[in-house]
Amino acid sequence: MPLLNLRLTRPKILVDLNGVSGLDHIRETSEGLAIGAMARQSRVERSSIVQERCPLLAEAIRHIGHLAIRHRGTIGGSLVHADPAAELPAVALAFDAQFVVSGDGMVRAIRAEEFFIDYLTTALRPDEILREIVFPVLQLSSGYAVEEIARRHGDFAVAGVVAIVHLGGDGRIADLRIALFGVAPTPVRARVVEQTLIGQQPNDELIRAAAALLSDMLDPPGDIRASSAYRKRAAAVLTVRALTRAVQLCHTRRLS
């Protein structure tokens, strides 16, 4: 709607999916939590299944705009819009969620890795719609965190991080996913940091050293909100915060 109001886009025909039923479900399946593309953000944020099975998603949604925006905003809308500063694309990438899309009788699944192509550009074809997104369920021994810097609560993020940590029985990091947003044309996985920390017993020093590797990996854009150098620094600081909180949460979730 802002794109239309600002006359940035002038479509000849606009199809409102609000009238299509069967696109706003939230349900647990064998593959994970399946969320219909038209499920409202405020409903997903408050859903008890989401809070129980995929609390990271609820935490991320609280960073989106304001409640009056989330009452109308949909999960699918955020993902398909693919704003590089948006939280949900980074959450989808961290989980490597599955995007179920359909068009002209054909249904196909696209992995998050392949879904986000460029600024506001996805692998969705012009004749396709997003039907649902399947997020893997978070294991109890996993910790997670979303950290971002924005000028005010609800503003576009200057930079942000989504982290999911899985600790093995020996306390070492068994699996780690880090997705950054606001620092590139699409959300990006911080694979250098992930590879450095997997197999390690996490501590403050190791986490800081691993996050410092981001400065070689990133070349973020500078704009009215922040310079490139600021975004680079912010990404490293936020990664340290997110990892520290996610590791702590692993321990508390395991005890509870």
Binding site: P2, N5, L6, H66, I69, R72, H153
Partner: protein
């Protein structure tokens, strides 16, 4: 020229119907077709919060919806807020709070603030100052500096709890 559509909705407990082009925003429909000009349009891109109304009980930006999308909906605008006061006073306690604490100057943003606060105090009757500031971060005011708006919410919360 696109064919016009019939739109029916209940606004402030009154039934309305109109004939609009699908491109007309809900905010423009309320203002220009129904004459309910208390809903103000600031930025028309969902940032400023001036056009906030209640759609089926939830706050929404009326500039970010088409009127046709609100077909069949129940809407409350600023003109219907006082009627939500249980006491039958001519102003809702939230409105009275803004008067008592000088929570507005030019008044342009005020209707959006009042609708946002109505939903907020319904969910959280005893908010802290931090919670108030966080929830109001989606409404912009260029006059007051916000201090008196926060005071207005505290005033209203106290008076609503007492009722």
């Amino acid at each position: 020229m696109t064919a016009k559509c019939v739109v029916e909705m209940t606004v402030n407990e009154k039934r309305y119907s109109g004939l609009v082009e699908p491109r007309v925003s809900l905010a423009d429909f309320l203002r220009d077709h129904l004459g309910l000009t208390g809903t103000h349009l600031g930025c028309e891109q969902g940032i400023c919060g001036s056009c906030t109304i209640l759609l089926n009980g939830e706050t929404v930006r009326s500039c970010l919806l088409f009127a046709v999308q609100a077909h069949g909906a129940t809407i409350v605008t600023i003109e219907g807020l006082a009627a939500k006061a249980k006491s039958g006073d001519s102003l809702h306690p939230i409105q009275q709070g803004f008067l008592e604490t000088l929570g507005f100057q030019c008044g342009f943003c005020t209707p959006g603030f009042l609708m946002t606060i109505y939903e907020f105090l319904d969910e959280n009757p005893s908010p802290s100052e931090d919670e108030i500031r966080e929830r109001l971060s989606g409404n912009l005011c260029r006059c007051t500096g916000y201090q008196n708006i926060v005071a207005a919410v505290l005033w209203a919360a106290e008076h609503l709890r007492a009722k």
